[in-house]
Amino acid sequence: MLTLRDLVVSLPDGRHGVDGVSLALEAGRCLVLLGESGCGKSLTALSLMRLLPEGVTIAGGQAHLGAQDLFALPERRMRSLRGGRLAMVFQEPMSSLNPVMTIAAQIEEARAAHGSRQTVAELLDDVGLQPQHAQSYPFQLSGGQRQRALIAMMLAGEPEVLIADEPTTALDVTVQAQILRLLRDLQSRRAMALLLITHDLGIAREMGDTVAVLYAGQVVETVAAQDLFASGGRHPYTRALMQVTPSLGRRGQPLLSLPGSVPLAGAWPRGCRFAPRCSAVAPRCREASPALEAGVRCLFPVGAAPASPDPLQDGVPSRAALGSSPSCASASFGAATPREAATEAVLLEIKNLCVHYPLRRGLLQRTVDWVRAVDGVDLRLNRGETLALVGESGCGKSSLARALLRLQPAATVRGQVRLNGEEILNLRGSTLQTLRRCAQIVFQDPFSSLDPRMRVGDSLEEGLQALRPEMDSAARRQQIERMLKRVGLDVSAMPRYPHAFSGGQRQRLAIARALCIEPQLLILDEPTSALDVSVQAQVLALLRELQAEHGLAYLFITHNLPLVGYFADRVAVMQGGKIVEAGAAESVMAAPQHPYTQALLASAPG
């Protein structure tokens, strides 16, 4: 139905963002394009629509939809295909809809452009929206509803091929499950071909008939989804991806840790592009570029006669194979075993914590109501323990973290928080500084957590200057060097600016910055959710080791349940500002009691 051959996309600086991608879609089937950030998935999709950003051009290849040559069509004819036979759904439902037009008007526009047979009401019904949503503006709808509205617009032209570019990445897990179900229903009902782009193996497993794995601008493996999840794939990268994903089943085992990170678009290594990170690399791999043969782009694919014994075969990599990467964890930590009674001392105790924001209305701006972001939370965290705080966006987990660190305006916070037995909510001045020495935070987005205009060394020194006044500059430097080494970087990082580091490296820097002042409690606010899966494993391994060495307690805030199952000792599930269920991670994950926890678990893809 839709075939793409040898697509090359060239970036404004002349480098290639996509380098020879071929795909084939069939009616009524779903092809999943799986890959990490920067490997060229979105560029491939936008090329098919001929909607590449300014300056980015199609430099080679052919695409055919039926008999039509997509890249040779004049723009006017291409326009009638877009939203007609070929439609696309985007990642950000918040910004992908026109904010000042009603949903009905936006659907109507698409209908008018393609002479749709379905009415607006029918289209809304098809995507599971109510008739009254027609007259709504996008801001009045939730994220999931917006994504449904966008899909309705794209269905107006009765597409034969629907491209969905990370359609659920910006959504909560429960909503994600609904949207995926909707896409699958529509695909089978309308016998559409679906090209689903994702970075999430779980989604690929759930949705895909065929999976094409993309790495560094190339398809490295094309395989039937069933075979992939049965055999683990034949390309070392595919196999690695399958093993770096944390889950309850892998609890207590170290994850495979891929060294390094995904190369930047266009800055690709010679020879096999995966060679620098590959554990089974042979000298030839660095010279010869493998071709895609029998669905695999590898000189020594698994399943053929391997040139060297495959270290990934049994799931646990050998140390020798992975080299001396710092992220390669030693297997000696007993993560999943409950802590010994001796370390069972309470570090943090939260009683009836509330964060309420006033809602002001009327002439005198009187407070008419409160937004109860956190509403009577009780939690306890022991020394050296990992407590996962799980919830969807808006459940109050970040407000809670900010309140614990006293970053929240004091007027909005009530309740009791004891750290080391001392009440912290009313600390001021130097006693507040003592709290800051005990509790630190690592944020979600490694790109905004370091000041882009400050040298890394200065960023790391800042906390020491403020909180460890007893240290002189030599002692501070020594401490920074020690921590940089500990997270797998070295002194050469100090005079550089953050932009010189990858996402994973920045997250290590952020961890080092927090560790410099030697806290007892580290709040981890979604520390890996902005990272590629192959990098996430490195950071998790590092966190594990640090916990074992320093007896750190982690408050691990996340929305990712498999991660909780893998990483946490205890878990607290938060909904609407309240804790709805708490307990040992294993038992909660295995036998959830509260309906919300059950829904969350059922929604997790994979």
Partner: protein
């Protein structure tokens, strides 16, 4: 050897202070890889480079015109050396042929005679109406009092530059301090600062400036004893104008900085600094200010051309520089009557137009290049 006494007007001192500050910035920027790369971006485009050269030409004229001195006059032996009351600049010295070559009144460019005829008694005793010959050739003609127009235009450059730069100097501290404070602290600090700038904004700009200039004029008139020379008096009036423009002109940038700080405040690295117990003042200086610096630089270069143009309008309204100060505004103002003459005296206006256009166009193109290089979103 001519005996001279260097004389520093207040505006000269401020200008050189400003140049020193720019020098320090360049020295620091050269050491920072980021800043070097950004500035290379400014000069990478052809228009940016050309605009910079034209600006450099005008600035060097302005600087030469700011090195002032007084010439010694004949002093009877035994007395302390006396100096002329007339303050000259290095530019004046360079342009001495133009400066001293004055005629009686108007003459067209490259004309050999004055524009107006005079009654001349000829050798045979008869009286004839003749246009008298001029003493020098003037490439751009002469004005009403016979002064060379090219010289006048070159002298006007300094006035325009000073207004464009000194105003910024006055405006920046207010815009930065108030904009950052409003955005970072929020609450009543924000309310108070917003009230202040809404109030200032609500007054029509020209009127507020005119009112302030009127008041300053009254003060200058009432205190003639403050000034030892006409140059010092005109200089103070110019400085006062810059101060007034600066005090009334900080609101735009302050609003911009407030909005940006409001966004920065929520960013993780600011929150991280707060979690480390870093003080607010330190956060503002180390984290916020460097991250809004590009906005400040863009706004300073963008404002420059607007201020140079504003001088012309204000001088026309009667709220500009001293009528005796050479400036484009005063040249244009005089041109109104000249155009009504017969034959039309067009050259002072044409000269003012050409110089002002070149200066402002260069400033605008330079500002565009700076914005393109500094704006992270990639300016259009």
């Amino acid at each position: 050897m001519i005996n001279i006494q260097p004389t520093v007007l207040i505006s000269d001192a401020v200008l050189f202070l400003l140049l020193a500050a720019v020098g320090v910035y360049i020295w620091r920027a050269r050491r920072s890889e980021n800043a070097r790369a950004t500035w290379r971006g400014v000069f990478a485009s052809g228009t940016g480079r050309w605009a910079a050269w034209v600006m450099a030409f005008f600035v060097s004229i302005g600087v030469l015109d700011s090195l002032h001195f007084r010439v010694a006059v004949e002093t009877p032996a035994g007395q302390a050396q006396q100096y002329s009351g007339e303050v000259l600049s290095v530019l004046d010295a360079i342009l001495t042929p133009l400066r001293t070559a004055s005629e009686k009144t108007y003459s067209a460019p490259f004309a050999t005679t004055l524009l107006v005829k005079e009654s001349v008694t000829l050798a045979d005793g008869s009286v004839a109406r003749l246009a008298p010959a001029i003493t020098h050739i003037h490439p751009l003609g002469t004005d009403k009092v016979g002064q060379d127009v090219l010289y006048l235009a070159l002298k006007s450059v300094r006035t325009g530059l000073l207004i464009g730069t000194l105003t910024t100097l006055v405006m920046l501290p207010f815009a930065c301090a108030l904009g950052l404070a409003a955005g970072y602290f929020g609450g009543w600090v924000d309310d108070a600062i917003q009230y202040l700038y809404t109030t200032l904004n609500s007054i029509p700009g020209v009127l507020l400036i005119a009112a302030a200039v009127l008041v300053v004029d009254v003060q200058i008139d009432a205190h003639a004893e403050w000034f030892n020379s006409a140059a010092a008096r005109a200089d103070l009036r110019l400085l006062a104008l810059c101060a007034i423009l600066g005090l009334t002109g900080w609101t735009g940038l302050a609003r911009l900085l407030r909005a940006e700080t409001l966004k920065l405040r929520e960013l993780d690295y600011i929150q991280a600094a707060r979690a480390f117990g870093v003080s607010h003042g330190w956060i503002l200086v180390r984290h916020v200010l460097p991250n809004v610096a590009h906005l400040i630089i863009i706004s300073v270069v963008l404002d420059f051309s607007g201020l140079v143009l504003a001088e012309a309008v204000l001088s026309y309204v009667g709220a500009g520089v001293d009528p005796a100060t050479p400036s484009f505004g005063n040249m244009i103002n005089a041109a109104r009557l000249e155009l009504a003459r017969e034959p039309v005296v067009w050259w002072p206006l044409a000269t003012a137009f050409a110089f002002l256009f070149a200066l402002v166009l260069a400033a605008n193109l330079f500002a565009d290049a700076v914005r393109a290089a500094f704006d992270p979103r990639g300016a259009r």
